[in-house]
Structure formats: structure tokens, C-alpha cells
Amino acid sequence: MKPKTGMIAGLANPTRFLTLVGRVLPFMIAITLVLFAVGLFLSFTSEADYQQGNTVRIMYIHVPAAWLSMMCYMVMAAAALGTLVWRHPLADVAHKAAAPIGAAFTFLALLTGSLWGKPMWGAWWVWDARLTSVFILFLMYLGIIALNRAVDEPQRAARLSAILILVGVINIPIIKFSVDWWNTLHQPASVIRLDGPTIDPVFLWPLAAMALAYTFAFFTMHLAAMRNEIYRRRVAAMRRVAASRAEEAARPQPREQE
């Protein structure tokens, strides 16, 4: 009799996961493209800010990237828990695949923030609390990627980087609340607040559309990267089998020649 398994436990079978991804991914890509089309259209047609002019549009690229950089880390932290607590095989793949995507989002946030900072603040880079903590996040992503590359065995790499990811979670609340705790140049939170968004709806709608587009883009890329990682491991396993077979086949031959 087939044992009853939950949704997550059922996905532990990589083949089942691959079938699911194969079915879901085309829809995800389509939704992402539509959302980006809507989001970019709104971003370019919405009014310019009375103070910032057209540079306000940088926000539609910058803010969702910054949100996603943090969300990606939380996804990685959840996967890291899955690795250490439940030893879920897909959790290993999940946080390994997420790290480069998170690094890319963080880099995008830093880059666009810098491009906006030059005309608005008069400097490409300011060492304020938000910028510094996001920069630390970027360094942590790179450190996790480096650790993953330094360990040959995928399972051990996953467990070690899971520990590092969980230790690094401390940085996420620091980033989130840095603008409230320290009185710095970066503006305080204006969208996700207990008393509702303080941002004007003219800017809120394009921002929301772009945030949704970014979120779907993240999950699409994440699923695709996870699929690639599973394929990569299968190829590596097949190569190992082929190599050991070739070795066995090659071994008796020299003796016969002697």
C-alpha cells in the first residue's frame, strides 16, 4: 500500500518534483512576462514626481529588488531549516539554487540605489545603515556561494552552508529596521507599515505591479535553477557510474597484454 505523504514530503522524490516543475514552469514564465509588461507600462506612463522628476522611476526597479533580496534570504533560511531538521533532499537544492539569484537581486538593488543616489543625494555611495546592511547581505550571499563551491560533496556542502545561512539570518531584521532604528539618509519604510502605506497611490500601483512581477520572476528562476541543479547532480552521478564502469572494463586488459 502506498503510504500517505504530505505535499512537501511527496516532493522529496526528485522525479515527481521535476514533472511538477515541467508542468508549472510555462505558466509561471507567461505570468511573469505579462506582469512585467503591465508593471513596466505603468512605470513608464505614470506621472513623474514633482521633486524627483523622472528619476522616481528608478524606484520601480530598485524597491522590488531590495524586497526580493531579503525575501530570497528568508526562502533560503527556510530551506536551510529543512536541510538541518528534516534532511529534505530538495531543501539542499533549494538553498543552493537560491543563493546566486539572491546575490543578483541584491546587486541590482545596490546598483540602482547608487544610480538614484548620485542625482538625489549627490554621492554614488553613502555609508548609512541601510546601505551598509544591504552591502553586508551581498557579501553574505557571495560567502555562501563560495562555501558551496569549496566543498566537493553536495550533501556536506548543503549542511555546512545551511548553518551559515541560519547564522546570517540576524542580518535580515537589521536591514528591515535599520531605517527606523538609526536616523540615517535612507528614507524610512513607506509602503509596508502598520498604519498603511504613506506613499501616494500614483506611485503605489506601478510599484505593486513591479513587486508582483519580481516575485513571480524570482519563483520562476528559482524553480528553473532547482531543476538545473537536480539535472546537474544526475549528470554527475551518471558520470561517476560510467567512470567506474570504464575503469572496471579497462583493468583486465593490461594484464592480458603482458
Binding site: 551598509t132 553586508i136 563560495a146 548553518i163 551559515l164
Partner: protein, 219 residues
């Protein structure tokens, strides 16, 4: 536990001059800065405490590789894992021993370095106190990195890369408190108390993560 602490300190001080290398590195970093920024005494006096902090941070990170490496190489790490005492406690004791042997000499030397930088008495005292309170945090969190990297064949340079981002808050508040002590505008106590909190926090998180990594590291 006491025996382990004594053994680790004696090993660090006598065998191979490991602790001495950290001290020399510290001297080198502090001595390099005046060449880099120029021998302007007013500027050096202002950035002096920060330089000493950065030098201590770097020297600590350099020395962290030795925390578990020798034990792993001669196999006594496996013996430590098999003790009745929880591994977390053993790691904590090893961290304290490492801090005593490698970091405490740097801190004792730091006022002298500050004098070379033309730092005033208030700045010297502040740098000394903040280092004394803050540097254990670097060792504790560094233990996690050292434990992660110990099983890697080429993990030596990885430890500073993994740990530096996590140690930056310690640096920020340590230097912040040192600056506050020399200026009239800012208060010394708030950053100093956050520094204390960071040390206590990492005293829990660091050894916990390190012992977890040591157990997961090899099968």
C-alpha cells in the same frame, strides 16, 4: 573543562609561536596605516581607535583558522566530540582559551599602538575597554566559521570571508563607542551597551553553530 582551557592556552603560546604571529600581524597592520594615509598626527589621532579596532579584527580572523585545525589533524577533535560534556560547552571553553591566547595580548598592546597614533588618553581608554568587551564576540562568531571551514581541504582563507560580514556590526559599535568617548556630542553608553549585547548574543549563537557544524562536517 579547566584542563582543556589550560591545555589550549599553553599550546597556543608555546607550540610554533601561533599567538606570536597574530601579534606581529597586528603590529604590521597598525604600522602600515601611517604609510597609507600619511603621517598627519591630527588625522591619525582621529582615526586611531578605528585603526586599532580594524587591526584587532583582522588579526583575530587570521588566527581563527587554528581554533580546530590542529585538533582535526591529529584526531583529538573526534575525542572531544565523544566527551560526556556537551560539545557546545567544549567549543565555548576553546573559544575562551583562544581569545586569551590570541586576542588578549593584542588588547593589552592596543594602548601602546594608540600612543603611536597620537590618540589621547580618553580615546586610549575607550578603545581598550571596547576591545576588551567586544572582541570576544568576534572569536565566538568566528568559531562558527572555523568549524564550517575545518573540514575543507582549502578552507583557510574562507574563514575571514564567511565571518567578516557577520563581524561588521561588532566593529561598527566598537568604533562608534570609541569615537563617542572622545567627542562631547555623542553618548558613550548606548553603543557600548549594544556591544555588550552583541558579545552575549554571539556567546550563545557562535558555539551553538560551531558545534552543529563540527557534527555535520564529517560523516
Amino acid at each position: 573543562m579547566g584542563a582543556l582551557y589550560r591545555r589550549d592556552v599553553i599550546l597556543a603560546l608555546r607550540a610554533g609561536g601561533g599567538a606570536l604571529v597574530g601579534l606581529l600581524f597586528f603590529l604590521c597592520v597598525v604600522a602600515t596605516v601611517p604609510f597609507g594615509v600619511g603621517p598627519d598626527l591630527a588625522l591619525l589621532a582621529r582615526i586611531g581607535p578605528a585603526i586599532v579596532w580594524i587591526a584587532v579584527l583582522l588579526s583575530t580572523l587570521i588566527g581563527l583558522d587554528r581554533l580546530f585545525r590542529a585538533e582535526r589533524d591529529d584526531g583529538s577533535l573526534d575525542l572531544l566530540k565523544m566527551q560526556d560534556e556537551p560539545l557546545v560547552l567544549i567549543v565555548l571553553v576553546k573559544c575562551l582559551a583562544h581569545w586569551t591566547a590570541y586576542v588578549l595580548p593584542l588588547i593589552i598592546l592596543s594602548p601602546v599602538m594608540g600612543l603611536l597614533m597620537n590618540v589621547g588618553p580618553a580615546g586610549l581608554g575607550a578603545a581598550f575597554i571596547t576591545l576588551l568587551v567586544g572582541s570576544p564576540a568576534i572569536t565566538f562568531i568566528g568559531a562558527a566559521g572555523a568549524a564550517i571551514a575545518v573540514s575543507l581541504p582549502r578552507g583557510g582563507l574562507l574563514v575571514p570571508i564567511l565571518i567578516l560580514p557577520l563581524a561588521i556590526p561588532v566593529l561598527i559599535f566598537g568604533v562608534g563607542a570609541s569615537y563617542a568617548a572622545t567627542s562631547e556630542i555623542e553618548a558613550f553608553l548606548p553603543p557600548f551597551l549594544i556591544l555588550v549585547a552583541l558579545t552575549l548574543f554571539f556567546a550563545v549563537v557562535g558555539p551553538l553553530a560551531a558545534s552543529l557544524a563540527l557534527r555535520q562536517g564529517d560523516d
